[in-house]
Symmetry: C2
Subunit: 338 residues, 2 copies
């Protein structure tokens, strides 16, 4: 995966020129966020500055019928390009099979399929499958499947309305392939993307960081009551319910004199009341150290985020240490400017 990410970064530089052309076309779009005063999508909060995660995020604004491509630029996010897109025939958020609506939420590209596997007359040059229904959709008992980002023959108008898929031109999807890392690159679909000033964007980001820090602090301080408060009543992970998760963690906490949990800059994606956080995690205790990728799904209920699922898988500590070092030197650089 690291190799792919590195490859994606390499190809990027050579493609930037091509994309500048697309940028030139988008006169009616929200301003690019390269300048300090620029607007940023409120709910695309942070693209982590680590090779372990995708460097690009796609956003769909159904009301504008537009697909946006964002990338990280140091700790900020920056619009790379935007493209006209078709969406489901029917308005509103998908809830069930055959409702011909485009689902709204946080999805990840899964597989790439091309003709002759699928007919060119329906899908043009290619299709990327998405993971609808996701964890949030399953919780909401949504049905249906086969939501894709695909192209369409050049002769078909982009205003026809799809069965729920997001549809772009052949020339567009061909360019996008180089920004999509399967299983890793997110596409956030909104009825309407809200654009906010950089200052407000920072404020929202701080709220999420406070949530992550609060959760980590409860864990580090071994306060099981405080820690379990961060979990939803319907939490389910690795076959644990909230009650059994508490018991499991209580057992672990009892074994260590101290626990120190460090997170690398997290990847933060929000969609209304849904939150996904991915972060490289370094876990240290008096007895054991490990490195991994922690993935958290949370929902906002009565103004508070509650974790509904949590996953962990082993990762390379060198990646963590590398990006920590970068973060520290970036912090040092920004301090020295003051």
């Amino acid at each position: 995966m690291n190799t792919t990410a590195r490859h994606a970064i390499l190809v990027f530089s050579s493609l930037f020129l091509t994309f500048s052309t697309f940028e030139g076309k988008s006169d009616t779009s929200p301003p690019s966020s390269t300048s300090d005063s620029a607007l940023m999508p409120e709910q695309l909060l942070q693209i982590a500055d680590t090779k372990a995660f995708a460097k690009y995020v796609f956003l769909v604004d159904k009301s504008l019928r537009t697909l946006f491509l964002y990338e990280r630029e140091e700790s900020k996010i920056k619009k790379v390009a935007e493209f006209p897109a078709d969406i489901g025939k029917n308005g509103g958020n998908k809830t069930k099979r055959d409702d011909h609506k485009t689902p709204e939420g946080i999805y990840f590209f899964q597989n790439l399929i091309k003709p002759p596997q699928i007919p060119f007359e329906t899908y043009g040059k290619m299709a990327f499958t998405l993971d609808y229904p996701n964890i949030f959709d399953a919780r909401a008992k949504k049905s249906g499947s086969g939501i894709w980002l695909h192209s369409i023959p050049d002769t078909v108008p982009l205003t026809r309305g799809s069965r729920g898929c997001v549809v772009v031109r052949n020339e567009v999807i061909e360019k996008l392939t180089q920004y999509i890392q399967l299983k890793e690159t997110p596409i956030l679909i909104f009825d309407q993307v809200k654009f906010v000033a950089a200052s407000e964007h920072e404020k929202k980001k701080s709220e999420i960081h406070a949530f992550i820090d609060g959760w980590r602090d409860a864990w580090q301080s071994k306060s099981i009551d405080k820690y379990i408060e961060f979990y939803d009543e319907d939490f389910k992970s690795l076959g644990y319910t909230k009650k059994r998760w508490r018991k499991y963690k209580e057992g672990l906490i009892g074994k260590y004199d101290f626990i120190k949990v460090s997170f690398d800059q997290p990847f933060i994606l929000i969609h209304n009341d849904q939150l996904i956080i991915k972060t490289l995690q370094k876990y240290q205790s008096d007895k054991h150290t490990d490195f991994g990728i922690k993935t958290i799904h949370a929902v906002k209920l009565d103004g508070k985020y509650k974790i509904i699922s949590e996953e962990w898988k082993e990762a390379n500590p060198e990646g963590f240490e590398l990006t920590q070092k970068q973060a520290e030197s970036a912090a040092a650089a920004s301090t020295s400017k003051n």
Copy 2:
């Protein structure tokens, strides 16, 4: 995943009757392995007796143009059913895009796609995508994609030859859905499945168990030289090369007075010189205990298996302890019979 697995087990009992009918049709097939003297596929070695993994495995014999379905029955494997299947127009193992050959190897079902997403006239009622090219294929620089298990309209003969996909009847694929757990259920594709007597099957299984035990013993005894001997020169995992993996593990080994690694009954899949092992792992040391699913890909070179990739993700210890207990009581029961 546990819930799905449990569900799969529940539906099974109600479906067995239906499948008995299919069994009745298969007069020319190798004998079922329910009796002690029965033949078993040499290379489907063990379906782990744990809910963490799939209970069913599919096998394709290209020369027989037949799809077999196997399930675990206690520590043995048993044929559930078999079905006529179409395969790629051209003979031999797939190596590149558009060669119209069916790949041979160990694959896992990924996604389910149905009309109207894909045309009924090509795919019948549904298609399951497979993970070709897999880790072994990537190593062998094989190209192409879109290898699926799909159905076809009843009017199309099953002898036409596909573009590389495995093709079955509509009525068959509809029944199979209940045995397929996406991302988990394997399908092994062979030019020719070799069937061997139960005793020979046991002997092959012992060889793999000896490999796993040897690797575990080297790890437990903290013999880094012996341990690293189990890895291939081109090993790559989590961004580590073999050299850096050795350094990483050496560091970990140095921290503990003792290391104890227990495996639950592993899931063992072999395809010629390719081996995949999945197992629930309990790791204990003087300082730390954890539970997870270990997945190993290995290749046989000069008569010895060498690990080419290794993955670990957190799992529920209760699942491990449950199956360990079952294994112990099964062992006790079999001992008391002697």
